[in-house]
Symmetry: C2
Subunit: 355 residues, 2 copies
């Protein structure tokens, strides 16, 4: 019998979601970061509080030129992590950096989410160390979206250079990716493929063969092995792989647009007619190839840590920063992490113990 009158906490006005923004992260920091924060603050109003972490003396002048927004705060951080800085050194010796201070706010629950367009490896390593993993997660992962023929992107994970993944790691990537795709992309029962060199069950490395068995039993909508060509064809919603392959494919894919531009430039150099043709075609190319550029997708989530973290490309525009903050807010509201924990706790114990 259910008592509908007394259960549950009293209904209160929900407190604002607090998002920390690493204001020094990107290539155009802090300008793009501050402008992005202002965009989203005006849109979301008092439901969201944005905490800009970074060099106060640089951030405040940019802020003060704009209309005052009460939902933006600034926390000073004197050090800045560069794109080339070694991730493992941050926790040890870079504790005055915006990246560290921002993630420490997440760790101490002074913030619900963390957003950065900075050093991906640095965020991943520091967030994992500081915040810890969601119970049941063997290894946090970062994914990347690929455009497909179908128009619906494929989420490839891991691309964050978790190398030498064990079969259980790949199983966990599939669970986290499935929860994310369902809650954040609205895909009812997202399909999962295991990246491999053939469709047959016995194909691939020892790790892939064992992972295949786990994926059949861990509760995701596993459709079997997929091959390199299936990423762009959109055969499945989620492709799981070791971070070694994932990172290599991501970087290969990122280089295609530059390669094509070079090709077209070389063609234009052949003569005036060719130059005119390429000129006329430039907008077509741009339109048709736009989402070959992964930057269009804005940030990607770091899945599996305690707390929400979104990582964006270094060259993120103010709009991209604003989108990342919105995505972070949505991840908090939809309780992606709680759902990951619940899903993993209900997987068969044979999988839980397979690490």
């Amino acid at each position: 019998m259910t008592d509908v009158t007394s259960s549950g906490p009293p209904t209160t006005k929900h407190r604002p979601i607090k998002v920390v923004l690493d204001a020094m992260g990107g290539d155009h920091a802090p300008a793009n970061e501050v402008l992005g924060a202002l965009m989203v603050a005006q849109q979301l109003g008092s439901d969201v509080e944005i905490i800009l972490v970074g060099k106060e003396e640089v951030i405040q002048p940019i802020l003060s030129k704009q209309k005052a927004v009460t939902s933006i705060k600034v926390v000073n951080a004197t050090d800045v992590i560069g794109m080339g800085d070694e991730p493992s050194t941050i926790v040890k010796s870079r504790r005055e950096s915006s990246l560290y201070i921002g993630l420490d706010l997440l760790r101490t629950n002074q913030a619900d989410a963390f957003v950065s367009a900075g050093n991906t490896g640095g965020v991943m390593a520091t967030a994992t160390l500081l915040c810890g993993r969601i119970p049941g997660v063997s290894r946090p992962t970062i994914g990347s979206f690929f455009p497909t023929k179908t128009g619906r992107p494929t989420l490839l994970l891991d691309v964050g250079a978790n190398v030498d993944s064990k079969p259980k790691f790949l199983s966990d990537y599939s669970v986290m990716g499935s929860v994310y795709a369902r809650l954040m992309l609205g895909i009812d029962s997202p399909t999962v493929g295991l990246l491999n060199v053939g469709e047959e069950e016995g194909k691939g490395t020892e790790v892939a063969r064992e992972a295949h068995q786990l994926l059949r039993a861990n509760g995701v909508n596993f459709v079997g092995n997929v091959e390199g060509r299936d990423i762009l064809s959109g055969t499945v919603d989620i492709v799981v792989c070791d971070g070694f392959e994932g990172n290599i494919i991501l970087k290969f894919a990122e280089s295609i647009l530059g390669f094509l531009k070079d090709r077209f430039r070389a063609y234009a150099d052949r003569g005036i007619i060719q130059k005119l043709l390429i000129g006329a075609f430039r907008p077509v190319l741009k339109s048709a190839l736009r989402d070959m550029d992964y930057q269009e997708y804005g940030g990607v989530p770091l899945l599996g840590i305690q707390g929400v973290a979104i990582i964006g490309h270094g060259s993120s525009s103010p709009l991209a920063i604003a989108n990342m903050i919105q995505r972070a807010v949505e991840m908090v509201r939809k309780d992606v992490n709680g759902t990951i924990q619940k899903t993993l706790s209900s997987t068969p114990s044979s999988i839980k113990e397979s690490v």
Copy 2:
């Protein structure tokens, strides 16, 4: 003291190089195979003898329609290996196939080289089993050429799905690739990169880290780790990797052209102006993207087996078949295999014993 009068065998007219062609291999077999053989036979004359292996009753009618060429012979084979047939079954139960009979001619030295546009895995597995490895080679490999910004292709190996390669395998791939690039592509001291997730020495999987050390010592022109983006940028002449990554990247790369065509088709569907623009641009695209299509490169060598074997794409044209036969003849003449054997025998013993 050198006796110049008596040493060495007497000078004789060199016997013709014998190339076996799997006449039933490709998607358009045997027509394209026979026509390709005729093209090259007319060009090379009596220096080369081509042995067509396949269904005599189908091959002879095509041959007899053409001008008689004495340097082409036919060996009957009643069975045909399909593209989907399981490679491991060929040696056991498909000994009447053109693939098996052709490779058996290579094994028994009745031919110097073998060419097929058929089942790649089948040729690789059967050739390795029948002909054996060149002394010192831990694992035969198949590579693939990628177009680059520089115009000079990158040779990626292994792409033949040698999965779970040991560090010594990767070292051997680099030696075989270097010999091939020097003798066949005329590159004086081909540069070699190890495919990895970062440039620093300590990056990557355990296998990659160990392979890095072997590559520094095995005598190739090793420039260090390279990343996914370096394949199309032409940073190095040769990129070595495990066949798991190599095969996945190859199949991903092969899917790009189809993806782009789909994109442009979708753009054309937006309206009449768009359709006209795409129509006008079609030849430009074709010209600029031509060598994104790996078929343009013709066949690739299977390196490391005793005997020369060239494998081409299923849809090889007669010209592609002719090019493959010429490449095979060149590999025999330039003694690629003998040079591989000599080079491997002179590598430090620490590497030889590292398997």
